[in-house]
Amino acid sequence: MNSDSETPNNGSKEVRELLRRPPSAIYRWLGDRIFAIVVVLLGFSIIALGAAMAIVLYGEGSLSFRQFGFFGFVSGTTWDPAVKLSFGALPFLIGTVVTSVAALLISFFPAIAVAIFTAEYAPRWLAGIIDNLIQLIAAVPSVVIGIWGIFVLAPWLRDTVYLPIFTWAETSYPALLPILGNPMGYGMATATIVLALMIVPYTTALTKDAIKSVPVEQREASRALGATKWEVIRMAVLPYARGGILAGSILSLGRAIGETMAVAMLIGNKNTLPFTIFGAGATMPSVIVNEFREAVESLHLSSLMAIGFTLFIIALIVNLAAAYLTRKFSVKGGQVL
């Protein structure tokens, strides 16, 4: 074989490689095998991580599940770590569902409005700025929103909204008082409002993507029919984008369900039903945060873990529902799927 000093001028490196191929084949094969094994192992660890989460949460919560029964635990209404040592997760389930769904309802139209505005009306430079600001909302850490909520939003809501409504109800409509609850400022309403703000970016982002991908022919066809700008959006754009709108909403719902710190800092931490509008409440993540560090008895800890497992299941269901529903309602290539 040629020695290095005798190789020809053009393509010498490749020629050298080619000439050396027979002995290096084993080296290559071994390297590839090792690489493949390492990579597959790392990929598999994702599955392991997911499985571990399910197994560990269930395992740690099993003490509680065995004590109260799975459905007994989930539907139990007493959460009493001090006296009765009886744990039921229903208050937190209700708290999570109510705050998350209400937050989604509050944020839905504004979020879509922002998406429509940036996609259809705003000039490019403005749309870019708004986009970045919306992304920033999602990027701000939950604890930062929490501290602002504690010292700024909650007192303001109490003074500007809750107390006036409460005093009005006291005089004009006392029947409402039990539903309104204690207008302290830290409670279900404040937590819901903050949640609504925090989940806007997800609906907005996916809606905007969906709007932008509506084919120009659809818009032109509506225009040619004599539609005004808003009519084009309502008739051709939004229906076509409904898959993205749905996906964004469910993504927002998923975030709301799992949102922990801001809610824990603002919801007032009351573990017993019934919850009122202004009054204190609790969600699954908030009770874990509030009680975990102080939980001493194994049954208490196990119950908190059991709540973690329930949260896991609910987040899982929402995720799977998201994938299914989005596919079902999407419009791709002019065909309703």
Binding site: E17, F35, A36, A113, I130, V143, M265, A315
Partner: protein, 285 residues
């Protein structure tokens, strides 16, 4: 029948509603940023960056107090988390992208997407059971593991997407000159995708750095700097998000101010990191 006037009026009304909604959504963000800066700037002094927190009496008696241990703890825990998460996340991303026909891939993708949607607090609970319980104490290591659990699904997804955007012809070119497959991935594909890989890593890091819930039951928190740097890993350590939470719910006003100051630092960090990621994305395009 609707007249043209009615339709035009409705168009105008809708446009105004859209503008108003946008303002309503963006206004709180602006207000939050202003409040954080205004309330926290006064506590960002020399002491803040050099003193430990100590007991509440320090603050109440006006003695020097600060969050140096928190800042250092955050750096240690976050960087270790990144070190743990990068191989796993990138490895998974490489598998999904470079070995697309592997039968585990659909399961990996579904699991990864699910993990991405899981609340961070659950990842903290997992790290608690896996690390804190056997170790017998809260630790920086447990905190890093918890944050790594947060980072891994994000890194896996962004890596897959960054690598998949590299055209197949680059791999063919590498194979054609005789490179083994592993060299093709590491030496040609990944460098070509470096923008996407770096951006994805930045995003994962910024997201994890803002999480407090997983740290509450893993690194737990510490009012003091550990004696030995190893103490950061083996014992409880303070981190910014978790400390911010504790300061905010405490009853001491000076601690509240320091909480605002910590909020400034966290806010600055996420703005810079996400901003860099966006800038890099635009550079590439």
């Amino acid at each position: 029948m609707k007249t043209m006037l009615q339709r035009n009026i409705r168009d105008r009304i809708m446009e105004s509603l859209l503008v108003i909604s946008t303002i309503v959504v963006l206004l709180p963000l602006v207000i939050i940023i202003v409040h954080v800066i205004v309330n926290g700037i006064s506590a960002l002094n020399w002491d803040f960056f050099t003193q430990e927190l100590g007991s509440p009496s320090r603050a109440m008696q006006g003695r020097p107090t600060g969050l140096v241990h928190t800042i250092l703890g955050t750096l240690v825990v976050d960087l270790l988390a990144l070190l743990l998460a990068l191989p796993v996340g990138m490895g998974a991303g490489i598998m999904l992208s470079e070995y697309p026909d592997h039968k585990l891939n659909p399961t990996i993708r579904v699991t990864n997407d699910t993990l991405n949607g899981m609340p961070a607090i659950l990842k903290g609970l997992l790290a608690f059971v896996l690390i804190v319980k056997p170790m017998g104490s809260f630790s920086g290591l447990a905190g890093s593991v918890a944050l790594a659990f947060v980072m891994i699904p994000i890194i896996a997804r962004t890596t897959e997407s960054a690598l998949m955007s590299i055209p197949w012809s680059i791999r063919e070119a590498g194979l054609a000159i005789g490179l083994p497959r592993w060299r093709v991935v590491l030496s040609t594909v990944m460098p070509a995708a470096r923008f996407g890989l770096v951006t994805g890593t930045l995003i994962a890091f910024a997201r994890a750095a803002g999480e407090a819930a997983p740290l509450l039951f893993t690194s737990f928190g510490n009012n003091y700097l550990p004696n030995h740097w190893l103490g950061m890993l083996l014992g409880p350590v303070d981190t910014l998000p978790q400390r911010l939470y504790s300061l905010a719910i405490s009853p001491y006003t000076h601690w509240h101010s320091m909480g605002w100051a910590a909020a400034i630092i966290l806010l600055l960090f996420v703005i810079i990191t996400f901003g860099t990621a966006r800038y890099l994305t635009r550079q590439k395009n």
